[in-house]
């Protein structure tokens, strides 16, 4: 009784306005600003003047598949086809890897279904010497930078060819040659590290910059604030990206604060321009990144970009989204599928066709199957060969310390 009396007046507000299993998907709060409507300011714009950009939505591809407005990056058809190829390859690779996970060939996997335009559009707008600090869901960056799928899959299967010696969970890539930093399993830690990296670029007088990605859920970590503060204070040449795919495992963006504001608007509070961009529009992502990169290279400092998108699949192979969100919700996402949208655009401008698309998909599928098969030849999580176990004692410090030497001996090496 007393408990119930107490409960009756509980005034704690807990956000819960999201469609759950059994409900119809509800995306009424997604801003559908018309493509081409957002202004494109000068790169030296004051953060305060990006107010409208941070609450609106930068879109280039309109509903008819045309590229419109001041943010149109005017990419060549060749470049657009390359983007499409990377996106399709990412999707196919992801989905094959998912299947290989089910076959027990790796311990874990995470797809980027639905978010391909972000990594690809942004990756293509950067230079090779720019260093990337992604989260675990921007595998598209590796395709843009030309990493071999054999190597990628070898890492994921922790096999003898894994450039990380079996030390990391799948999809936590590192690729120094391609200037892709070590992906951490700890959320958001890379954000301020990217700022430090960028500061060192400025210190050395280089033109190279850094770019980092986090999810909207991760933005609640203290490291988010730390990164934004450092980027602002030292005007670091860095692009700080937040991928708002609406979900953080099972929690919706309202739990990360998205009910009360846009994420992009947080930038302004640091004196950093905030851009909210249609994350399923590869042209918009490319354009925003080009703008931000130029700003960074010219010494005007950081840009904060929120990419609005939807997580198409499960969080990872460890969860079942049917337990926390409506089935088939991805299909009703109002910003569509990024691959379809670019494909339509290319067709509309007469540079692509359904036939060519089907042919490309076929080619890529063959190549993915081929490469994954080759990778399997170097072993899988549960089938030799794999990295020599004694290497687990290496790389703790540059030179092996006495305690580890003793332990390696005890281990039997």
């Amino acid at each position: 009784m007393e408990r119930n009396a107490k409960m009756a007046q509980n005034n704690l507000h807990v956000p819960s306005n999201v469609a759950r299993p059994g409900d119809a998907p509800d995306f009424s709060s997604v801003p559908l600003e018309p493509a081409g409507a957002a202004a494109r300011p000068k790169i030296d714009v004051a953060a305060r003047e990006t107010h409208d950009l941070s609450y609106g939505l930068i879109r280039v591809l309109d509903d008819d598949g045309k590229a419109v407005g001041p943010w149109d990056p005017k990419l060549s058809a060749e470049t657009l086809r390359t983007a499409l190829r990377h996106m399709v390859q990412t999707r196919i690779y992801d989905n094959r890897m998912l299947r290989m996970h089910r076959q027990g060939k790796m311990s874990f996997y995470m797809t980027s279904n639905g978010e391909e335009a972000i990594a690809i559009g942004q990756g293509m707008a950067l230079r090779d010497e720019d260093t990337l600090f992604p989260s675990y869901r921007q595998q598209g960056l590796l395709f843009v930078r030309g990493r071999s799928m054999v190597d990628m899959a070898s890492h994921c299967m922790s096999n003898a060819r894994d450039n990380l010696m079996g030390r990391q969970l799948p999809v936590h890539y590192t690729w120094r040659e391609g200037n892709l930093f070590s992906i951490s399993g700890n959320l958001c830690t890379q954000f301020p590290q990217a700022v430090g990296w960028a500061m060192a670029c400025a210190y050395k007088g280089e033109e190279a910059i850094a770019a980092s990605w986090i999810g909207e859920g991760s933005s609640a970590e203290g490291d988010f604030h730390v990164a934004m503060t450092l980027a602002s204070v030292y005007r670091a040449p860095v692009i700080l990206n937040l991928v708002n795919n609406q979900w953080a495992i099972s929690t919706f963006q309202g739990i990360a604060g998205g009910n009360e504001t846009t994420f992009a608007a947080k930038g302004i509070g640091y004196g950093i321009p905030g851009l909210r961009v249609d994350g399923n529009d590869v042209l918009a992502m490319h354009a925003a990144t080009t703008w931000a990169a130029e700003r960074a290279r010219k010494g005007f400092g950081a840009t904060f970009i929120e990419a609005l998108t939807y997580r198409g699949g499960a969080h990872s192979t460890s969860d079942d989204p049917a337990r926390y969100r409506p089935k088939e919700d991805w299909g009703s996402w109002p910003l569509g599928d990024p691959i379809e949208r670019l494909k339509t655009h290319l067709i509309v401008i007469g540079e692509w066709s359904d036939e060519r698309h089907a042919q490309m998909e076929g080619e890529i599928t063959d190549q993915v199957l081929n490469d994954l098969k080759e990778a399997e030849g170097y072993g899988t999580l549960n089938a030799a060969p794999r990295p020599d176990p004694v290497t687990l004692f290496d790389d703790v410090l540059k030179d092996m310390p006495p305690n580890l030497k003793r332990q390696r001996e005890e281990f039997g090496a």
Partner: protein, 337 residues
């Protein structure tokens, strides 16, 4: 008696706590609607309401800080940290704030917070889903540290922890959630239904904090351990032919030194087993304390079987995770003397 796995036991404990005390609240990443990535709070939001079991933003510092504020203001929060590898953004709030609030305010403010966190290795989680960071917490005055090894103890200890007026860090050996695990990763998974530790009484009961349990009586040597390693040690001893006593600490801080010294004085030999890296692991404190207290009874050097001094590897998990073989070796080593 009803059979439950450890997740069910933890879930039942929380259900009972919510039921009995309107001030109990539960929050953490994915703990609300979804019921936690390991399902330990499954169904509790539906049953007890959105305001009592809810999701938090992804900020471990915030989870701890919010728990401190709520706890000081009369609530009794159970805060979940999704993996103990991710507790470190909240470490400052634990060491500088939660643990010291009673002391620095001379008892004016206290926060009866329980921090639950899946802990330890054995699930192929790589370096960020496998850590055993208990040693850090045992070095912090002002908090208690608990690690259960069975569903029965998990439920009873969690109820004790939440009802305790001091902050408790409650580490759950995630490899034991679904069944006892003896270190043989190639064997078929066992279920708690076949294990006496899976007998979990209905309703409210407690297992006291600060009391170790002799899980196998023996006279030749003492094995001091906790968590998953309790089961690995049991299997190792069974194979070794050595009549070793096995002590499951259950509470690491304050540790039950009486039971430990009683056993080691009897056997004169001691092996300490844990998953965490050796250097400055909790085994170091155990070894030092045993040696201080049982020096004249020791017939062989106290030996530690631990994880290596490296980050927790992914592919080489089973070369890292202390094996039955390593425990048997250590037993033979201390017996050789």
């Amino acid at each position: 008696m009803p059979q439950q796995n450890m997740i069910q036991a933890l879930n039942a404990a929380q259900d009972i706590l919510l039921e009995r005390d309107p001030n109990v609240v539960i929050f953490g990443e994915d703990t609300g609607y979804f019921g936690g990535v390991f399902r330990a709070t499954d169904g509790l939001q539906a049953k007890h309401g959105l305001q009592r079991v809810f999701d938090s933003p992804i900020t471990e510092a915030g989870i701890i800080a919010m728990a401190i504020g709520m706890g000081a203001n009369g609530l009794r929060p159970i805060a979940e940290i999704q993996f103990s590898d991710y507790i470190f953004p909240g470490f400052d709030q634990i060491i500088s704030e939660l643990s010291r609030l009673r002391y620095r305010s001379a008892g004016q403010y206290t926060a009866p917070v329980t921090v639950r966190s899946p802990w330890g290795g054995g699930i192929r989680g790589g370096q960020t889903h496998s850590m055993s960071p208990e040693a850090f917490f045992t070095h912090i005055p002002g908090i208690k540290v608990v690690v259960p090894s069975t569903p029965h103890d998990a439920k009873g200890l969690l109820i004790s922890a939440v009802e305790d007026d001091d902050p408790v860090i409650f580490f759950e050996p995630k490899r034991l959630y679904n069944g006892p695990f003896d270190g043989d990763h190639e064997a078929a998974a066992k279920s708690w239904a076949q294990h006496s530790g899976g007998d979990v009484p209905d309703g409210h009961y407690t297992v006291p904090l600060g009391k170790a349990k002799v899980v196998r009586a023996g006279k030749d040597a003492s094995i001091i351990t906790y968590g998953t390693m309790v089961h690995v040690a049991l299997a190792a001893v069974a194979k070794s032919g050595i009549d070793a006593e096995i002590i499951d600490l259950r509470t690491l801080a304050p540790v039950d030194l009486d039971t430990i010294t009683w056993s080691v004085e009897k056997t004169g030999k001691c092996v300490i087993v844990h998953e965490a890296p050796k250097t400055s692991g909790f085994g170091a404190e155990l070894s030092a304390a045993i040696q201080e207290n049982c020096f004249y009874h020791l017939e062989a050097p106290i030996t530690r079987v631990t994880g290596w001094d490296t980050p927790y590897p992914h592919a080489h998990e089973w070369e890292y995770f202390p094996s039955q073989a390593r425990i048997i070796n250590a037993l033979q080593h201390v017996m050789k003397v």
